[in-house]
Amino acid sequence: MNSDAATVFVVDDDPSVRRGLGRLLRSAGYRVETFESAKDFLARARYAGAGCMILDVRMPGTTGPELQVQMAEMGVSLPVVFLTAHGEVATGVSAMKKGALDFLEKPVDDEALLEVVRQAIAQHACTQAHQEARRLIEGRLATLSARERDVMREVIQGRLNKQIGAALGITEKTVKVHRGRVMEKMGVGSVAELVHLCDIIGITPALPAAGEDEAMRRVF
């Protein structure tokens, strides 16, 4: 991912800090947008590119951690790096628990800050690529007919055509035809690949997708 195209969003109620951080990040080649409050940030148009957020913990009105929760609820996936003052034990712990990428103590050294920002943007890019893959597979999945989907579900459970026919009440020959179309529409050459694709978008033979757990796991 080209970091030139990445934007860093800085939310801090202190104008001096905003100017300083903004200047530092721009000097490292990032685009920077600064906001005085959570409200101002949320009023901004939805951002689709790669980037990350630098969020002050202690702000009047909506605090950093509260904004983090609101963003999660709105499905904004920007990685969050918190800035804390010395000794804010409880907030640090709680922010990390809720999925912050890292927290840095003020005053923050440029190397530490730029390294964390680099990691955050890389991680965001990776997440976005994964989402792109999911969108592609979901697009292919949408072209399947209802029957083809039924057949696919059976196939990825490792059933033989005969078993599938019996389960769906259709002939083995029809199953073969559907199976061929499924493989073709999904653009795969083997059942193993099909299983793999389904795994990516969370279609599993029996269980619902473990979406939240996945998000948690990525954090640590």
């Binding site: 800090v17 000097s27 800035l83 459970q157 033989l160 050459g189 690949e193 299983v195």
Partner: protein, 1049 residues
């Protein structure tokens, strides 16, 4: 031999190989994938065991083995292995890279290793060859397990029956299996990491919650159990809290926990471990995962760790505010531990929790001890100030008992030393139960000559402890330890003015460390209070005795005695006079003295009397003529009358002695006696009298007045010259004003500095002037009183109160440390970022000068802002004399509220202000800010646990009726009616951590400014409103300097 092939780097790459289309294998793969995708993390190990057999059988192989690297990569563990029946199975065990160096190297490069037959192994794969031949392996393929670019282990597929050519499509299949296993193992590891992190954070939250609630006194016990929990959690061997020694030269072991069989850290680590000290002092953790990682400059640390057998260690600094209290060190002795960044971060948080517990403990211990002692002094002063003279001894002994109990000493005594006679005896004593009292019949000046010399001749304090640990080298120590049998003693000399001195002594046969040096000045204040009370009681007694004697002398005098007031009315007549004139005493009292004269003399006497009343000297009446008195029965008797004026604070009287000529000698004697006793009475009261005669311009001083002034004074200018230079103008001004304006009586205090360099005295001079009918002053008479001791006592009370205010300020500021650090961090953050950005611009080679200028301007502005925060804090913590100046209330409030900004944000409190910019008061700026700080922090505290959504504090100031009113209003739960009356009393706290002094301090500060503070009646359901008001000041700041008590005109 086939070349090892590189594994594609990403785990999401779909398998595009030309696959073997065996239905059995398809089924195997889909079932394997389906099973693992839905498998819970803790079932994955069992799942792998279950599947290995089936995979081996389906593929027609003989063995499949999963090997994993430990998270710190130091060892390889064979976690799962399956061998078909007929061959000897491999057991799971731990290996090291050295066991299979070549294979491990290939795996590290993430290459698939194909070994169709043993002879395909390269020559350097010696150990691998030995292994294959010894185990009877014919053919093998090993595929690395890679997660997110890191190698976590590998899977080997083995044939023991036949050699195998491992065609590419087969290898692709195997890779698919490895991929599925890798996904599952990754999920297991992630889950494990997540769980461990979660557990640690729970532990951390639990610990920090526990410490916040801990009552004072039980912190030590909990610190050890906390160390044990953390040590067990981290799987290390030892956890230690070290505290910084007072001279900051070493870290001393205070609390530690070590697993069974592990030695504790040494008692102290000196600052010779400069590398470690440097890191900790700089607020950084010391992280040593392996001794090999230590930098060159850490040679001392390396030597110590090797000697102590420590393999890994991590130390985090314990900062309380800006003070480094010490460090927490966790060490592993059995094996190396990799400390991940995330864990070190969390250990730093743990350090923060431990430090705040330790800091709170230290602060509270010191404060409580001191507060209790100051409370004791305050109680004692209050009791002794009002004590009746016959109860003084009892009260002093009671105080000694209280002091004894406070310090846990064996003896607390007051020793009275007579410097002239060189003797010292115990006059008051208290001792602990079971301890034999010290003897009062011993002369300690001869029993302990060295102590006597030190204490009373040199007047120095004696503090000793831990005597008797070794033979005493010092002679005084020998006297204490061997002569008196004490192991510790504090003795403080207290001068009571005259030749009598007192010694205030606390002593114990045991070790006693609690009378540290800081207590000595306070003990001395306590001793002074005791001695003052004793001296005063003795003086009262002497005065009373003297008055009684005087009366009895008068009553029983062998001559007639009369006392007449300035109007000539008789106020006392003795029995002898009754007998002499034949009147009963009651018949004379209140009548004019002329009743005792024959008619022809009466009118003349009237004039003489008026003249005499303003004279100073006792004299004989009638200028040597024989005088005649008129008896009740009309007969006349020859008398001689001596007149003596008495100047007292109640006015002037004339004492007349009436004697028969025959008894003249006796009568003269009686007169002299009475004058002497009057002088004695004046001396005891430290009250002298003076008179100034306009005609002669001379001052006459009574004996006591001469003693007070110290030198002979004949003119007003002599007296003025004795006053301290600063007071001269004021004294002269007061005197001339008194004469000029006539109505006022003279009353002024000033400091007299004796020319011989003796002790300076504060005297109060008061007087009245008598005028001639034409209005010209005739003479002035008055008193001069030595009030030095009274003023000194007032000064000490004031100092104590200032100390209390200061203690409260420091404690409050301590509570604000975190917020102030935040407030300071903001500009520091901006400065650092700006500077580093500027450096980067410069490094770019083509810096934008305008941008650089703007950056520098920002840096300058933020630096000033940081400086303002620091100076605000410094003002709160500095202990300085009270300084009144004209200040704008709005500016005072704005300054302190700025310091509180971060604290309020942190507590989720909204602040609104309504400040009238035109209110000024004459006040000490810092003390006013302390009042506001206390009120606002109380409000924040009150709302902390409040359930209400709205947390708001309103601060306003406005002028009203010649005063400036400041209101602090909150939306907390308010003050319950039963507590409203007592909120301003000391120790009336409801807060677990407070000292209950905040509002009491507010009240004393406001009252010292001539103002008052009150709680407004509750308006509405919620909230408390505190208001204080201070007289408004209309001056300009230029006038603020000259506000002394005496203003010269």
């Amino acid at each position: 031999m086939p070349e090892p092939s590189a594994l594609p780097p990403t785990a999401y790459q779909p398998d595009t190989g030309d696959t073997l289309r065996s239905p059995e294998f398809e089924i195997l793969i889909s079932e394997l994938a389906a099973d693992f995708v839905s498998m819970r993390a803790n079932a994955i190990d069992d799942g792998i065991d279950r599947w290995l057999g089936r995979i081996v059988r389906t593929l027609g192989l003989d063995r499949m083995t999963v090997a994993q690297l430990r998270s710190d990569s130091s060892a390889i563990i064979r976690t799962h292995s399956y061998t078909v029946p007929g061959h000897v199975p491999l057991t799971p065990r731990v290996q090291h890279e050295g066991d299979v160096p070549w294979l491990a190297g290939q795996m590290r490069n993430q290459r698939i290793v194909l070994i169709p037959k043993v002879s395909d192994l390269p020559p350097e794969a010696v150990r691998e060859r030995e292994f294959m031949l010894a185990e009877g392996l014919k053919s093998n393929v090993s595929i690395p397990i890679v997660i997110g670019g890191d190698l976590i282990g590998w899977i080997s597929f083995t044939s023991m029956g036949a050699e195998c050519d491992w065609r590419p499509e087969v290898v692709n299949r195997l890779r698919l299996i490895v991929n599925i296993f890798a996904g599952a193992l990754r999920r297991k590891r992630d889950d494990f990491q997540l769980e461990r992190t979660r557990q640690f954070e729970e532990l951390l939250s639990a610990i920090s919650a526990q410490f916040v609630q801990l009552p004072w006194g039980s912190i030590d016990r909990h610190l050890r159990s906390t160390l044990q929990r953390v040590v067990e959690f981290l799987g290390v061997d030892r956890g230690t809290i070290l505290t910084m020694s007072p001279d900051r030269s070493a870290l001393c072991r205070t609390i530690w926990y070590a697993r069974g069989g592990i030695d504790p850290v040494p008692v102290a680590l000196s600052s010779d471990y400069a590398w470690m000290f440097g890191k900790l002092c700089g607020g950084e953790p010391m992280v040593v995962s392996s001794i090999a990682d230590l930098p060159v400059e850490a040679a001392a640390e390396r030597e110590y760790l090797e000697r102590a057998g420590v393999r890994s260690a991590v130390a985090v600094p314990l900062f309380f505010g800006e003070t480094l209290l010490g460090a927490a060190i966790f060490s592993a002795l059995r094996e190396e531990v990799r400390w991940s960044r995330a864990f070190v971060q969390r250990l730093l948080l743990l350090g923060g929790v431990l430090a705040s517990a330790l800091g709170r403990q230290t602060l509270e211990e010191a404060q409580r001890g001191m507060m209790r002692f100051e409370q004791l002094i305050a109680d004692v002063s209050a009791r002794l100030a009002a004590v009746a003279c016959d109860r003084a001894d009892e009260e002093v002994t009671r105080t000694l008992r209280a002091t004894l109990k406070f310090f846990g000493a064996d003896h607390c005594t007051l020793v009275q030393a007579d410097l002239a006679r060189g003797s010292a005896r115990i006059c008051h004593r208290a001792n602990d139960t079971g301890i034999t009292p010290l003897r009062t019949d011993v002369d300690y000046a001869s029993a302990c000559p060295l102590i006597y010399e030190w204490l009373f001749r040199r007047g120095e304090t004696l503090v000793r402890s831990r005597l008797g640990d070794r033979p005493a080298e010092d002679a005084i120590d020998r006297e204490i330890a061997e002569g008196l049998g004490f192991r510790s003693m504090v003795a403080i000399p207290i001068s009571s003015g005259g030749r009598v001195h007192y010694g205030f002594v606390l002593a114990s046969r045991r070790e006693n460390a609690s009378w540290s040096k800081e207590y000595a000045p306070r003990l001395s204040v306590l001793g002074d209070t005791l001695v003052n009370a004793l001296t005063r009681a003795r003086a009262d007694e002497a005065l009373r005795t003297s008055e009684e004697r005087f009366r009895s002398v008068v009553e029983s005098a062998p001559s007639g005695v009369l006392i007449v007031d300035r109007d000539g009315r008789i106020i006392l007549a003795n029995p002898y006079l009754e007998r002499m004139f034949g009147y009963r005493s009651e018949a004379m009292l209140g009548r004019h003295v002329e009743m005792l004269l024959p008619l022809p003399d009466r009118e003349r006497h009237h004039a003489y009397r008026r003249e005499f009343i303003s004279e100073t000297d006792a004299r004989r009446m009638g200028g040597g003529r024989e005088l005649v008195g008129l008896r009740k029965d009309g007969t006349e008797i020859p008398v001689e009358i001596g007149l003596s004026p008495i100047g007292t604070s109640e006015g002037r009287f004339v004492l007349a002695t009436v004697i028969d000529v025959t008894e003249r000698k006796q009568a003269e004697q009686a007169l002299r006696d009475s004058a002497r006793r009057l002088a004695e009475a004046q001396r005891v009261a430290r009250l002298g009298s003076w008179e100034w005669d306009v005609a002669t311009e001379r001052i006459q001083l009574s004996e006591e007045a001469r003693r007070i002034v110290g030198v002979e004074v004949v003119k007003v200018s002599d007296l003025v010259a004795l006053a301290r230079a600063e007071d001269r103008l004021a004294l002269l001004g007061a005197i001339s004003r008194h004469w000029r304006e006539r109505s006022e009586s003279l009353d002024i205090e000033c400091r007299l500095a004796p020319p011989d360099g003796g002790a300076e005295r504060i005297v109060r001079i008061s007087g009245n002037t008598y005028y001639q009918p034409d209005g010209a002053p005739l003479r002035s008479v008055g008193t001069i009183q030595d009030v030095s001791e009274a003023r000194q006592a007032e000064e000490e009370t004031r100092t104590l109160r200032m100390q209390l205010w200061h203690t409260d300020r420091v404690a409050r500021s301590g509570m604000l440390t975190a917020s102030l650090a935040h407030e300071l961090n903001q500009p520091l953050t901006a400065i650092l970022s700006n500077s580093q950005a500027a450096l980067r611009f410069l490094a770019s080679g083509n810096p934008d000068i305008a941008e650089l200028r703007e950056t520098l301007e920002d840096i300058v502005r933020d630096d000033k802002r940081a400086a303002a925060v620091i100076s605000g804090l410094r003002a709160m913590v500095r202990h300085k004399a009270s300084e009144r100046e004209g200040v704008g209330m709005a500016a005072v409030l704005t300054e302190i509220l700025a310091l509180l900004r971060s604290e309020l944000i942190g507590a989720g409190v909204e602040l609104t202000t309504d400040l009238d910019q035109d209110c000024s008061v004459l006040a000490d700026r810092v003390q006013l800010q302390q009042v506001v700080l206390n009120l606002v922090m109380n409000a924040v505290e009150a709302m902390r646990d409040s359930k209400t959504e709205e947390r708001r504090i309103s601060v306003s100031c406005r002028g009203a009726d010649g005063a400036v009113q400041v209101r602090v209003q909150d939306t907390g739960p308010g003050i319950p009616p039963e507590r409203r009356r007592s909120v301003f009393d000391a120790f009336a706290t409801t807060k677990p951590q407070g000292m209950g002094l905040g509002l009491a301090v507010c009240r004393s500060i406001v009252e010292s400014h001539g103002g008052r503070i009150w709680l407004e009646p509750a308006a509405g359901a919620r909230g408390a409103t505190f208001v204080f008001s201070i007289p408004a000041w209309a001056g300009t700041s230029a006038d603020a300097g000259s506000n002394g008590e005496v203003v010269a005109r």
